[in-house]
């Protein structure tokens, strides 16, 4: 009896995998039904629907990059402190002295790659007409996920707290100042006033809501940190679950009708 057989015959192995290895047709079906991670997929699938030149694999890669970002992000969170005193120095240390500081490189390049792959996924879904009935709503979910991806990347951009970070966020968030009605330099902000006093000022407008301050400062760092590490990932994870579930419920990967 080989070592492999011995392991697969053990009680521990059998308690984890309730059936023999997927070498024959029956067990290849069973593995898809009994494995928690694999049950995302159907048991069988149309051949052309999984051809790489059809799907470009971009949605799958985007999801995988989301997982990579989550794992490297959690590891980075053990090290990084989002305060004016420490933020920059922690990143500096990650670069120069910390073991496995390469996690930051993987996190950043993974983020760039994720923005690109999510665009390409959208491009492919449009070009194959996969948003057409019955998949209209899943396209809408996808657009929200695309926006969340950009917001994740945008909020993460601030965290190194270097010149690149704060000025990119300053440029990006300055636009919120001009939000119609809700920005203190936006058209129609005068409409929100109470007895002659403006309700919308630079300390109460849309930009203030985003930054938690009148300029990009420590409050902004804290706000973006929470958005980046908790709020947006949770929202994205929920929507990803819906997105995948809907792919199955709307008839699987799109195919000629």
């Amino acid at each position: 009896m080989s070592v492999g057989d011995y392991i697969r015959d053990s009680q521990i192995w059998k308690s984890v995998f309730r059936h023999p290895a997927p070498y024959d047709r029956r067990n290849r079906v069973v593995v898809m039904l009994t494995n928690f991670f694999l049950h995302l997929h159907p048991v069988s699938i149309k051949q052309q629907g999984i051809a790489l030149s059809y799907t470009w694999c971009m949605g799958g890669i985007t999801f995988f990059l989301f997982l990579v970002e989550t794992i490297t992000g959690v590891l980075l969170m053990f090290y990084y402190r989002p305060t004016l005193e420490w933020a920059f120095n922690d990143i500096l240390a990650l670069r120069d002295v910390t073991t496995l500081g390469i996690m930051r490189e993987i996190h950043r390049w993974g983020a760039h790659a994720m923005v690109i792959t999510v665009w390409l996924h959208m491009y492919r879904v449009f070009l194959t007409g996969s948003y057409k009935p019955p998949r209209e709503f899943n396209w809408v979910v996808g657009v929200i996920l695309l926006k969340l991806t950009l917001l994740l990347s945008f909020t993460g951009y601030l965290l190194p707290w270097d010149q690149l970070a704060i000025w990119a966020i300053t440029v990006g968030s300055n636009m919120a100042r001009a939000t119609p009605v809700l920005g203190h330099e936006g058209p129609g902000f005068q409409f929100l006033n109470l007895g002659g006093y403006d309700l919308i000022t630079n300390a109460s407008d849309a930009r203030f809501l985003l930054l938690g301050s009148r300029f990009v400062g420590e409050e902004t760092l804290n706000r973006f940190y929470i958005l980046h590490c908790v709020a947006i990932p949770l929202a994205a994870a929920g929507l990803i679950a819906i997105h995948f579930w809907r792919v199955r419920k709307d008839g699987g990967i799109s195919q000629p009708l």
Partner: protein, 471 residues
């Protein structure tokens, strides 16, 4: 200074030029790039040999049949020689002066790209050309030649110091890669769409409907996913080792960098700031883009092209979406990343980022055109007037702009409904048609505003700085 004298000045070491175009390490690195290019083409030659296609030499060369593989093998060998020359002669830059981008070519390319008008014209006409020539471009050999040209262009351009500064910035490397990836997938789309369109013309169904038996997810899909995951992980680790994530000086609220750029994926929006006020470019248009994209499935009534690649069955939808994605979104990001420099001026890819470059700006609004045109001063409220006294004056001053925009977004859709979009209007119904036409017109507003700015220095259709309401 021409390239030759520049090379010689490099040779008289220690080079006094603080921005040397060619250095031994650059040439050595290029040697490896050419070697990769050689390897790619060697594989292509091999595939071409097995495909066994021939082409006819022109008469003055003998007019005989040649295998395609013969041409590719000669090209590959040339690349190998270039590579070896670079790797062995890197320390003697003058020996490699033929592989440097010549100055006249740099000047010509900078002339084309370092100007918003010409850049936009080139990308737009390039896009139209791509659609018209799609049958020819989608041939594998043509696609391969274009890829080679693009890579060769990158290689010889890397001999320029300014080009290296902008393209080699770690944060910009993924954008260079993105251009190639987007180009590849656009090519792949046309390749597959053409095949399906050809089949449809012969009454056959799309390729995707053939050989479409069900297969088991394990192993057919699960293994592909596994290989993809390993490949992506390996790529990320290699990328992380090769390029360090950027970290600049510690943040300082008083030292504004010039230029100050938003993250690269928002540079298309930042580019719109040149043509529109922040409330439009930064708030309204992004919301319209998001809302408009969500609306796509509900306004596209065309039932064809669901689940397979095609161009002919969805001409309007694909042209409109590609125009938004390629020249406008990707094109504007490219412009913002590689060409926008200090003071948000446009610089050529081989041009030094001179902070003191001057560009004259003299912009006029539509109301000024109108009132000065009929020889009247701008209607102005008496100084110190309150809001309600000011309002009629302001509205009178800007009425041409309101009328123009009313016509553009209100009347023009009606006219189009009766003419070019008649079919759409009948199929969609009033509400859906109005949403659709307004989305199309808003997307068209960007190029229209650009052209008016360049042609007539027109800045605003409606200019009410008093209310922060400039359109």
């Amino acid at each position: 200074m021409n390239s030759l004298s520049l090379i010689t000045s490099c040779l008289t070491l220690g080079s006094t030029d603080p921005h040397p175009n060619v250095t031994p390490s650059v040439l050595y690195g290029l040697g490896w790039l050419y070697l990769i290019l050689f390897a790619m083409n060697a594989v292509w030659t091999w595939k071409s040999y097995h495909r066994g296609r021939h082409f006819r030499l022109p008469e003055f060369l003998g007019g005989m049949d040649m295998p395609n593989a013969a041409a590719w093998s000669m090209y590959s060998i040339a690349l190998l020689l270039v590579s070896v020359t670079h790797l062995t002669c890197a320390s003697v830059p003058e020996a490699l002066r033929w592989f440097v981008m010549p100055d006249f070519a740099k000047a010509a390319i900078d002339f084309v790209v370092a100007d918003a008008r010409r850049y936009f014209a080139v990308t737009t006409f390039g896009f139209i050309g791509m659609l018209l020539l799609r049958n020819w471009l989608a041939k594998p050999n043509v696609g391969w030649v274009l890829l080679n040209l693009a890579l060769l262009f990158l290689c010889v351009s890397l001999t320029d110091w300014d080009f290296r500064q902008i393209v080699g910035k770690p944060d910009n490397v993924p954008i260079v890669a993105m251009l190639f990836i987007v180009g590849f997938f656009t090519w792949l789309f046309f390749y597959r769409a053409n095949e399906n369109d050809r089949r449809a013309a012969q009454g056959q169904g799309p390729v995707e409907a053939e050989n479409n038996e069900k297969v088991l997810t394990w192993p057919d899909l699960v293994y592909t996913e596994m290989i993809c995951m390993i490949a992506v992980t390996a790529l990320l680790i290699l990328w992380g080792i090769a390029l360090q994530a950027p970290l600049e000086e510690p943040a300082s609220a008083v030292k504004t960098p010039n230029p100050s750029k938003a993250p690269w994926y928002f540079l298309g929006l930042q580019e719109m700031l040149v043509y529109f006020d922040p409330w439009l470019a930064g708030v309204v248009f992004p919301s319209v883009i998001i809302g408009g994209m969500m609306a796509i499935p509900y306004i596209d009534f065309n039932k064809l092209g669901n689940g397979y690649y095609t161009f002919n069955q969805r001409k309007f939808a694909i042209t409109a979406f590609m125009f938004g994605f390629l020249p406008l979104w990707i094109g504007m990001i490219t412009l913002g990343t590689f060409l926008r420099g200090p003071n948000w001026n446009i610089f050529g890819i081989y041009e030094y980022w001179d902070v003191h470059k001057l560009e004259a700006l003299n912009n006029v609004s539509l109301s000024e055109y109108f009132w000065y045109g009929i020889g009247q001063p701008l209607p102005m409220a008496p100084a110190g007037a309150n809001f309600w006294t000011q309002a009629p004056y302001i509205l009178l001053r800007e009425f041409v702009g309101f009328v123009a925009i009313g016509i553009y977004l209100g009347v023009l859709p009606m006219v189009m409904a009766m003419t070019v979009f008649k079919k759409f209007f009948l199929r969609m119904g009033f509400l859906r048609y109005m949403v659709f036409s307004n989305l199309v017109l808003m997307m068209a507003a960007l190029p229209i505003t650009m052209v008016l700015r360049w042609a007539a220095n027109l800045k605003y259709f409606i200019k009410i700085p008093e209310w922060f309401f400039n359109v």
